[in-house]
Symmetry: C2
Subunit: 238 residues, 2 copies
């Protein structure tokens, strides 16, 4: 079976490599219903363990709800800042890390373990695969938003209990991601935390192993030059 | 900021909507180094909490390792089949659920909580965000593989302990996904478990709520017709 055409691939890889976690620069213009529907549909077509589709997407515009979520962010940010020493603490506290009130739409993506159950194929040995499916949906949503020209920021500096309270989640349903979605001024060339010098991007060759943990060189049985090709990151795309 | 062009979007959405969890029909032809590198590079450009990039990709071709993993699959499959009653048990056992020995390359994607730490921005309130980042990388990998004409199957009917033993994972590093990767005869029009009648695809409108859990109708403050547009799934793509 063939892959996508060169033109289709270029579009696909453009979405992947220019997607950013956007925390600032939301323009305030509205997200159209058609684009929102396409983004959600892409999310809903993610893979899920045993085809369980255990996700929900709670779309939040209500100002009071977002202010309540923002308060949880402020509390958790302060709490977590105590875990890191100066000068990293001040640097951490200087970052803009969320767009809860700036973005016109927030989306809480949740995991419902009761969905399509109790027996879900593939979940008995790996119960975590349920929440992992929801993450695949989040990544589809994120990439589709980039395709539609919409920025997304994932806010994980939040209390799950506060989110459950603000959104009325029933017992057993857990928040997986809280996303801020809207039109943005730009998609920056590099991630904010890379740009700020907080952390560097790792080399691809540093995270790829062959056959066993820690083995950085492809041995016999591998196409000659595979390691060098991976180091270069493939010839065709940025 | 604009989104992708219509042509680029079509390529992107084609990857999203025609991606499948492939468990059979691997052709046995080799995965080229360039395509493999592009797929891994796409995975490595996933978002990660605090830009921690906590993933590793262990590429497995060795037959003995794959046979060891396959034995774990067989054990877990039998064990989990005892959790479901007839006639679902026999139906479950009739499904082909993995391509461990059929696919030329297996990829174990792991989570290393020590990466870029101990303080990782965004992980103090949500420790699970580390493994969730790895899932975003898996989804990028899966979509890029589809773009390259490569099928991927995620095998979650495995013991994490068996995987850790087979691949020599150090303490603290956990397997997130075990993937079978290779050229395939086809990408089926629908997921196998939908085709087999095991579970139906849910309607998008059944998994979207507004403002709070359980509220299926968009109220005031929402663009008129947003619910209907979501029900139709957006006008432009399948």
């Amino acid at each position: 079976m063939e892959g996508l055409s060169e033109g289709e691939k270029a579009g696909f890889y453009k979405a992947v490599f220019t997607r950013r976690d956007v925390r600032s620069g939301f323009t305030g213009s509205e997200v159209g219903a058609a684009a929102l529907a396409r983004v959600l549909r892409a999310a809903h077509h993610a893979p899920s363990v045993g085809f369980s589709q255990p996700w929900n997407f709670i779309l939040v515009r209500d100002r009071a709800t977002r202010e309540r979520v923002k308060r949880s962010f402020e509390e958790e940010r302060l709490r977590s800042s105590r875990l890191v020493e100066e000068p990293r603490r001040s640097e951490y506290l200087s970052f803009k890390l969320e767009g809860i009130l700036d973005a016109p739409v927030n989306v809480c993506v949740t995991y419902d373990p009761s969905r399509s159950g109790p027996f879900v194929i593939g979940r008995a040995s790996a119960p975590e695969a349920g929440a992992y499916s929801v993450c695949c949906a989040v990544q589809n949503l994120w990439l589709a938003a980039r395709a539609e020209g919409l920025g997304v920021g994932w806010v994980s500096i939040l209390s799950n209990e506060a989110l459950a309270g603000a959104l009325g989640l029933p017992d057993g349903v857990t928040p997986v991601a809280y996303l801020c979605l809207g039109h943005v001024e730009e998609f920056a060339p590099r991630p904010d935390l890379e740009e700020a010098g907080w952390l560097p991007r790792l080399g691809l060759e540093d995270v790829v192993y062959y056959e066993r943990w820690g083995r950085g060189e492809a041995g016999p049985g591998w196409e000659s030059g595979v390691g060098e090709t991976i180091r270069r990151g493939g010839p065709d795309y940025p």
